[in-house]
């Protein structure tokens, strides 16, 4: 009797675990560099992978990560169709520097502003950089905290895996 | 829907602004208790301070100002504590070399965790223990207001006789209500008018007048039982007496400074007995709240 109960319990927990492994984007709005509101759930990329990277103008490793990827971004897009979204958590102190920094760095990413860290909190980010990889269906399948020179190679491997 | 939003907006605009016009001073409350009761509720403001604490004189002035408004019901006690703000400079220096600290002040600080939160901080009849007893000077006025409305439970009479170096202090406590509880009596010696260095805002004041400085606690820090009975009736009377030798107490402080206190240099003497006072208070041992306090100047007859 107890055994049957245990099996049923274990099975359903396993199954519910599988269910909740699917991680979707929260219903939070961010601002574009043009002052428009944008709901992050509306991100889409024609069923191709999306990379969301949290950064700030005062965060050295964040800038390093995004600048290193900028050098190979064109190749990545050609090979995998990936789109990179850079979410800046700069608050009022440095928010006005985001557009000049992005433009002068020649980034081709979509950049959004999360100035009171609403999206950052909703996605469980505590320190930046923190990078998420979304599959073609818009679910988060991988994330990584921090940045070390060469981490973009691991990120690219994960992106390629999605294509297979 | 839009109209609803606009009306909410306008209502909140109108209802949430109190703009005060001149003149600003306006005696509309408070004041000295002019009732004919023999005993009134007194309030002890323990002002934790230090001579290196620039913001502390402002708190001391606030205490004086509260005393000016409410009169003798407000009794102040300046307790110099902490390594950061009350430590003396080494004797080789020319200023801030006096050590105002005492063994009892440090004990109170350790127990109530005052300097951990920065100075100036005060306790108003020690209300709010254990989470909210450290009051910023901005809160003193409202805490005093709250305390003044409480009932008087005890009346304290202090008398002292001083013969050269020895003093005999007698505390008579009258219960004004029936009450149960574990009450303790603490008796302190204070000194007024100590002129010495104090940082005051952006200045260093060589001639600052330090008032009601805690010199010694002649009962123990945590006091003596008011009575061993658990039930106290209206009209009960209790007497406590203490004999002290002032030179001994002065030497104790100097010794304690030189040998025990952090960077203490022994400069804790030069007591002027003519400026001394006695503060006696009764507190409830269960929550540390001080329920009555009294003070007199020590007489030099």
């Amino acid at each position: 009797m107890k055994k049957i109960l245990f099996i049923v319990l274990a099975l359903s927990i396993n199954i519910s675990f599988i269910y909740s492994q699917e991680r979707s984007l929260p219903n939070i709005e961010v601002k574009t560099l043009d002052g428009n509101s944008f709901n992050i759930q509306e991100l889409e990329n024609n069923n191709n992978p999306i990379v969301i990277s949290f950064w700030a103008t005062w965060c050295k490793p964040c800038k390093k990560e995004l600048n290193n990827i900028a050098e190979v971004y064109e190749e990545w897009q050609e090979e995998t169709g990936v789109k990179i979204i850079a979410i800046s958590i700069d608050d009022t102190r440095s928010m006005s520097k985001v557009a000049p920094y992005v433009n002068s760095s020649d980034w081709e990413y979509e950049v959004y502003l999360d100035s009171n860290s609403d999206l950052k909190r909703a996605m469980g980010v505590s320190t930046v950089p923190h990078t998420f990889l979304l599959n073609g269906k818009g679910n988060i399948v991988w994330d990584h905290r921090g940045y070390i020179d060469g981490d973009e190679d691991e990120l690219y491997e994960k992106i390629e895996e999605l294509g297979k | 829907m839009k109209n609803l939003i606009y009306s909410i907006f306008i209502i909140s605009l109108i209802s949430s602004c109190d703009i005060i016009e001149e003149p600003y001073i306006n005696n509309n409350g408070g004041g000295v208790d002019t009732s004919s009761n023999q005993y009134v509720k007194n309030i002890l403001i323990e002002d934790f301070t230090g001579h290196l604490c620039q913001n502390c004189p402002d708190a001391a002035r606030e205490l004086e100002a509260i005393h000016d408004v409410y009169g003798a019901q407000i009794i102040g006690l300046a307790i110099h504590v902490g390594n950061t703000f009350a430590r003396p400079y080494p004797l080789s220096q020319t200023k801030f070399t006096y050590d105002f600290r005492s063994k009892w002040g440090e004990e109170l600080d350790n127990f109530f965790n005052i300097t951990d939160a920065g100075l100036p901080k005060g306790m108003i009849n020690r209300i709010g223990y254990p989470n909210d007893h450290r009051k910023d000077k901005g809160q003193w006025l409202s805490s005093v207001g709250d305390e003044l409305s409480k009932d008087v439970i005890f009346g304290i009479n202090i008398s002292s006789t001083l013969l050269t170096d020895n003093a005999e202090i007698i505390i008579n406590t009258d219960a004004l209500k029936n009450t149960t509880g574990n009450y303790k009596l603490v008796v302190c010696l204070t000194e007024n008018g100590i002129i010495n260095w104090q940082k005051d805002g952006t200045l260093e004041d060589q001639n600052y007048i330090h008032n009601h400085v805690l010199r010694s606690v002649i009962s123990s820090t945590w006091g003596d039982e008011v009575t061993l009975d658990s039930e106290i009736n209206n009209g009960d009377s209790f007497e406590h007496s203490y004999s002290i030798n002032l030179s001994d107490l002065e030497n104790f402080n100097m010794d304690h400074s030189a040998n025990v206190l952090f960077q203490g240099n022994g400069q804790a003497g030069d007591w002027d007995i003519n400026n001394f006072g006695i503060v006696a208070y009764i507190y409830d041992n269960d929550n540390y709240e001080i329920i009555q306090v009294e003070q007199i100047s020590i007489s030099t007859k």
């Binding site: 049957i4 049923v8 359903s12 199954i15 519910s16 269910y19 979707s24 929260p26 219903n27 043009d34 002052g35 965060c59 050295k60 608050d91 009022t92 102190r93 006005s96 520097k97 557009a99 000049p100 920094y101 433009n103 002068s104 760095s105 020649d106 009171n116 860290s117 909190r121 909703a122 469980g124 505590s126 320190t127 994330d143 905290r145 070390i148 020179d149 060469g150 190679d153 | 909410i8 907006f9 909140s12 605009l13 602004c17 703009i19 005060i20 003149p23 600003y24 001073i25 306006n26 005696n27 409350g29 408070g30 402002d58 606030e62 989470n131 910023d136 901005g138 809160q139 006025l141 409202s142």
Partner: protein, 550 residues
């Protein structure tokens, strides 16, 4: 028993055959542990409990349009750079949010910012130990046609309890192009906000306002590469509950911030100005401390990431300051002489913050002072900074960052010391940060920093003087990093303080987990984020940090 199994079985089968969205549970965890050993040379005090820790666990549950969250925090006891009132354990943050047809309702804790934060910002900054989350009800409504409305009524959190004031706020933002169907190339966004605090108090001598209101209006203009943002804020009288005439100030407060940005490919420029006068909003007017500040006036200076550049950081003076800042970003194209093979990035920044003319506004029966609007030349300088950052990739293996800066720091004023005690320090700082890629996945990064300090006026205390700093960091992607650094105060006038502050750090990162262990000596200093600062006591010991998310 059999009945129970059947019921449970049915329940679970319902759950997984229903095909409905079960909802998701996510969270993140952080543990920070530090050991404090006694070290007389740097005045480091040992902690009685030897190790102290801060930790928290955040859990978020989302299902369709419903989100709920909880945060458990534990301070047993809090690290020495956190306020002493962070004691014990508890759940100081919990909320539930539901959104439907453009209306979002939150009950419980929330963070919120109106405009640029001049009159209201509730936020968390774990590095500083600030968390003034609101607890109450908040409504967000998208009226449509580009009009957005936010309103709330709540109390503010301090440590594990609430501050005394009750806050009501409302904010409206209108995208004029959308609302009025304009077809102009320029985008106009207008916003207005109102916040009011109710706090009961009685004062025998002065009549005090129980309701204090703050108003703000803002404008954002965007046209191609141009972006202008301006906000003006006003606060009615908000005097301290004091009996002393000199402390009671019935003057109103005001602040404005204005920034103009232009950017295009390869070039960007930002010019900002802000002024604050008597504009501090406290969640409890009788209290002192950063835990009670509910508005945000960020310091107008560049946030520096290198340690010697941030040795003397600027704290915002919400009661009275005037600041200017200019930033120029430029990328010298690749292939040119200065640009090199990959191009060179330049960032020039200059900022200056000074006090108001004879202090902030003050009004009572004895005084009536209103400082001049813009006054720079004769005013007390609080902080100034001029710096140039050059970022260049030399070849596939080497890239470097070079920063040269000159800062002036009014230590007496900014740290609240007696004038003449520490004076005004002018420092010239140089930083060279080189990365070298040894092979795939292995890199080494080295930093060399130098600071040459000069006292602008004589000071009574011994000068801290010159510093030099060296850092070497070896990283193995994607999991490991090792770093050793030494900050050497060779120029200290006090010979016993010419110390080496050595630190070693090792870290392991895998996916969303990060472990770091470090050991070393830390200088007593000030750590600031956005102009709000905390005092970090000197320490010597081990620190351990775990961050994880699921």
């Amino acid at each position: 028993m059999k009945k129970n199994v059947i019921i449970l079985g049915l329940l679970f089968s319902y759950l997984f055959t229903n095909g409905q969205d079960l909802g998701e549970i996510h969270g993140d965890f952080n543990l920070n542990l530090q050991s404090y050993l006694e070290d007389a040379s740097i005045n480091a005090v040992a902690a009685d409990e030897v190790i102290r820790n801060n930790s928290y666990l955040n859990i978020l549950f989302t299902r369709n349009n419903f989100t709920a969250g909880v945060r458990y925090e534990s301070y047993l006891n809090a690290l020495l750079d956190y306020d002493d009132d962070f004691k014990g354990n508890g759940i100081p943050y919990r909320f539930a949010t539901y959104s439907t047809s453009g209306l979002e309702i939150t009950a419980g804790n929330f963070y919120e910012q109106f405009g640029s934060g001049l009159i209201f910002r509730s936020y968390e900054e774990k590095g500083l130990g600030i968390d003034n989350a609101m607890d109450g009800i908040r409504l967000k409504y998208k009226i449509g046609n580009g009009i957005n409305l936010k309103t709330f009524i709540a109390k503010s959190r301090t440590y594990f309890t609430y501050a005394d004031g009750i806050f009501r706020g409302i904010d409206a933002e209108i995208d004029l192009n959308q609302a009025m169907n304009l077809t102009s190339k320029t985008k106009y966004i207008l916003g207005g906000s109102f916040v009011s605090r109710y706090q009961q108090r009685s004062n025998p001598l002065f009549e005090l306002p129980q309701n204090v209101g703050l108003y703000a209006g803002r404008l954002n203009l965007i046209n191609g590469g141009w972006n202008y943002f301006g906000e003006y804020a006003y606060k009615i009288n908000d005097p301290l509950n004091s009996i002393q005439q000199e402390n009671v100030n019935y003057a109103s407060g005001s602040a404005f911030t204005s920034s103009l940005t232009y950017s295009k490919k390869g070039f960007g420029i930002t010019a900002e100005i802000h002024r604050a006068d008597n504009m501090l909003l406290l969640s409890d007017r009788d209290r002192i401390g950063k835990a009670y500040i509910l508005n945000y006036i960020p310091t107008l200076s560049k946030p520096h990431a290198y340690s010697l550049l941030a040795l003397y950081p600027c704290a915002t003076q919400a009661m009275g300051e005037l600041g200017f800042q200019l930033d120029i970003f430029y990328k010298i194209n690749k292939g040119t002489l200065l640009g090199g093979r990959y191009g060179t990035k330049l960032n020039f920044n200059v900022s200056r913050i000074n006090g108001l003319n004879s202090g902030n506004s003050f009004l009572n029966d004895n005084q009536d002072h209103t400082p001049i609007l813009i006054s720079v030349i004769d005013e007390e300088l609080y902080y100034s900074d001029i710096n140039l950052e050059i970022n260049k990739k030399l070849n596939k293996k080497v890239r470097y960052n070079l920063v040269v800066a000159n800062q002036t720091y009014n230590k007496d004023f900014l740290e609240g010391k007696t004038p003449g005690e520490y004076g005004v320090i002018n420092s010239t700082i140089g930083v060279l940060d080189i990365s070298y890629k040894i092979k795939k996945g292995h890199s080494i990064r080295m930093e060399l920093q130098t600071l040459m300090a000069k006292q602008l006026e004589t000071a009574s205390k011994k000068e801290e003087g010159d510093w030099v700093m060296g850092l070497a960091e070896y990283t193995i992607s994607p999991n490991w990093f090792f770093a050793v650094q030494d900050m050497y105060n060779y120029g200290n006038e006090d010979v016993s303080k010419q110390l080496h502050y050595i630190n070693l750090n090792v870290g392991f990162i895998k996916g969303a987990n990060r472990f770091e262990i470090g050991y070393g000596k830390k200088r007593e200093g000030i750590f600031c984020v956005g102009g709000v600062c905390k005092l970090v006591p000197s320490s010597n010991g081990l620190n351990f940090n775990i961050t994880s998310s699921f």
